[in-house]
Symmetry: C2
Subunit: 471 residues, 2 copies
């Protein structure tokens, strides 16, 4: 019996497939104010797992969480010239509070460099206070003209790190550490998303930064998604807020700073990296539900077994859900779990019970086979690790197979428009070539060294530009 | 050598002591927009621990986390008459976004009943979708004319639960379950704050609720702090949003709802319940740092031992910090940890090392004595449990010793103004007496049954009003 397609096939209309998955897997809805979103429990469960994994890595890097206000006095935004220019068009402004017009309007934070630097300038007194390593989990608002759930929303959730250091080198090394040990490690080893690590071209840098490190993932349609960024801010904000420390030798020195962020946009990246025509595929290490045990029929012995098996799998350390809603047709439930991308679906009916088996459907490689039910708790963790590795391998192979080395702007544009990335020597492309790419909405995603490492400077010999279309 | 007092003594000026603790223990700063706050890492660490403990209990009660937008169309706020009247004076309004005046202004959520009900009305179709149990961790904004850090801030962090049920009884029972199994359990067994559980008088109910359950703690100055509330919303919001379900018999019925919340205000309650003239005292089960191991001197063997002891204590399951900042005077560091209320301070110097001992300072009972350093990992967990129990006992004894049974409004007012609570039969007090109390800023904190349970109705026989002044 052929199933009617629940989703628009990716090949027919990728953006529509994306919207379909988000709606059918109950990840999110559009909010009532244009560009906002409601993150539904399953979507939020994925975000919570991202938070847990990221938070542990951020703390291991030495940063501590704090919370700064949502509202920023409008006058703060003008203190750093490039920064205000970058964010002014996207600001939401509160003009009334408590029934009165405010003396000074407040801006809803689009990012917190400004307000955090105000406090850093008070907290940092001596070199003993450095490095100061702060992270914040928060909502931010950037008014979006062309919103798209998870990818570009007027309000989104994120973490933003902000640090102050005594020296340029220490700040540079910390930005690089976050880039590699926190972000790349999480994306490759938990999200199973192959990412290219590089530095942004000057035109693509964060407003107010002296260097922006980025992680770029290739989505299944060949477009790029910026999955996270880590910025060296130099002394730009320190100068604006006069953030100085007393050095060991008694001089008053400006601090060197970094900031770095990742957001709910990663949920969009997850969907577009691993999803297929049957829905999401969630990497096991991330999955809020790694295995679901389904009762096929409303039978007391079946119900008892799915519940005890659920407990066994949970004892084995797996995140498990038991689906004993036998008042909902089995086929509908199976399709729902498939849409939600739960890695392992274990189905038990009366016949399985008699045979001592269960049907195991593996969402990531696909396929369905009977397994000895008593062996599941010991076998499943290993299978899930195989699935995890498979997703990363598929993501990497996809990116490699769709990346071509080219020599001219024309070839680079053609590769991008064909649904892939091009690598071209930055010395040949340069800011001029970058402008020509822009005519076809093609951008420099990042600059990389020939050996795949992150170049120490834009003009380091052998630097390549990775170009493509982007979300 | 007598120490100069670091804090204003509680007896001299309690509000100033409170501000001193917040500042000296580095819990929070005032934000630049009036009424907002910056939660510093140590204060946020306490909030994170509250979140972890609460979140586990909320999930155990069956609710799942989700996220709804910060911005609510202004028109939504008017849908439920009492609700809009309750919140209108406190709203912050966004009139401009993306450089343009908005067609419809957006309100920054003061609470999310309105927006969540909009989605509940779409998600709830049949009785199979019920109960729908949602929780959200978020920031909310209520414009505050007389702000006070953690207690009343224009922006605060909280969790808000929102549920929909098929029957009145199911909704009522769930509101009661959150009240007791989530909130009271957390406050008594983790925060070590003795709370009185009761129902609000009609005048003190949440705007739009048919019943509000509350938890009231007595602060060290004898004033009350509302630590959390759980509301039965009846069908008021369901009617406003036409949130209906198809019953098993095929009729379309309005849902019954609850909402419930606790916030960063609990941090204020923690400070004012357990703090003393030397600073905070954090209950061990909550404490982000349960034990700190201090190197008294910059000596290689001492440093090696504090680090290895830190690792031993961490292996024993304790949350530990090692303080090896020997470039800061030891006395200053000891006072800082005392201010921060870390339950156990373990000090090691060269002489301790030679004797195989460490000095153990216990913040909660007070006092300092040498202990065998090798025994610490096995002894400390038990001592911390004793400290936890002591804090709850002190909180309970304080409340009981300052609560008096009275018969008249005059006596009730006198008891409250003397710095305590009074219990008075609600049948004698009633809404008229409640108004007279208000002339002296005394309020009915809650209604309780004679046996201490929560009355099933305002007019249940034997119902007592607990009255006092409140934050």
């Amino acid at each position: 019996m052929a199933k009617a397609p629940v989703l628009t096939p990716q090949a027919d209309d990728f953006p529509r497939w994306y919207q379909d998955v988000i709606s059918k897997a109950e990840l999110a809805d559009n909010g009532p104010v244009r560009g906002t979103m409601v993150i539904r429990p399953y979507g939020y469960g994925i975000w919570e797992r991202m938070q847990q994994e990221m938070d542990a890595r951020i703390k291991a890097a030495g940063a501590r969480n704090a919370y700064f206000p949502l509202f920023i006095p409008q006058s703060y935004m003008t203190k750093e010239a490039e920064h205000v220019e970058g964010f002014a068009p996207e600001l939401a402004v509160v003009t009334h509070g408590g029934g009165k017009q405010l003396e000074e309007p407040a801006v809803v934070r689009p990012t917190s460099e400004m307000i955090i630097n105000d406090y850093f300038s008070r907290w940092v007194q001596s070199y003993r206070d450095l490095p100061l390593l702060i992270n914040q989990w928060a909502n931010v608002v950037r008014w979006e003209m062309r919103p798209r759930v998870f990818l570009r929303t007027t309000e989104f959730l994120w973490q933003e790190g902000h640090t102050a250091h005594a020296t340029y080198e220490d700040a540079r090394d910390f930005a690089a550490r976050i880039h590699r040990e926190v972000y790349a490690d999480f994306m490759e080893n938990v999200l199973a998303v192959d990412v290219v690590l590089g530095r942004k071209s000057p035109a693509e840098r964060f407003a107010g930064a002296i260097n922006t490190l980025t992680l770029e993932g290739m989505m299944r349609d060949g477009k790029a998604l910026q999955m996270g960024t880590s910025h060296e801010l130099g002394q730009n904000f320190a100068r604006a807020f006069d953030t100085r420390y007393l050095s060991a030798s008694g001089s008053r020195e400006l601090v060197w700073q970094t900031s770095w962020g990742t957001s709910t946009r990663m949920v969009g990246g997850l969907i577009m990296t691993h999803g297929d025509d049957n829905g999401l595929r969630v990497p096991p290490r991330l999955a809020p539900v790694q295995a679901v045990v389904l009762a096929i029929k409303d039978d007391p012995e079946v119900l008892a077994r799915v519940r005890s098996l659920g407990a066994e799998l949970a004892d084995a350390g797996l995140r498990v859900e038991v689906d004993d809603r036998t008042d909902v047709p089995f086929g509908r439930r199976a399709v729902d779990w498939e849409l939600k991308g739960v890695p392992a679906r274990v189905e038990i009916g009366p016949r399985d019970l008699a045979a001592g088996t269960a049907m195991l459907a593996r969402r990531i490689p696909g396929g369905k086979a009977p397994v000895a039910v008593d062996a599941l708790a010991s076998v499943l963790p290993g299978l899930l690790e195989e699935d995890q590795a498979l997703l990363l391998r598929q993501s990497r192979e996809h990116r490699e197979s769709r990346t071509t080395d080219v020599a001219t702007v024309e070839e680079a544009t053609a590769a991008a428009l064909a649904g892939g990335w091009a690598r071209i020597p930055w010395a040949d492309l340069g800011p001029e070539g970058e402008k020509r790419l822009a005519e076809d909405a093609v951008t420099v995603r990042c600059l990389v060294a020939e050996d795949g490492s992150v170049p120490v400077a834009d003009d380091a010999p052998g630097t390549l530009a990775v170009v493509g279309r982007a979300y």
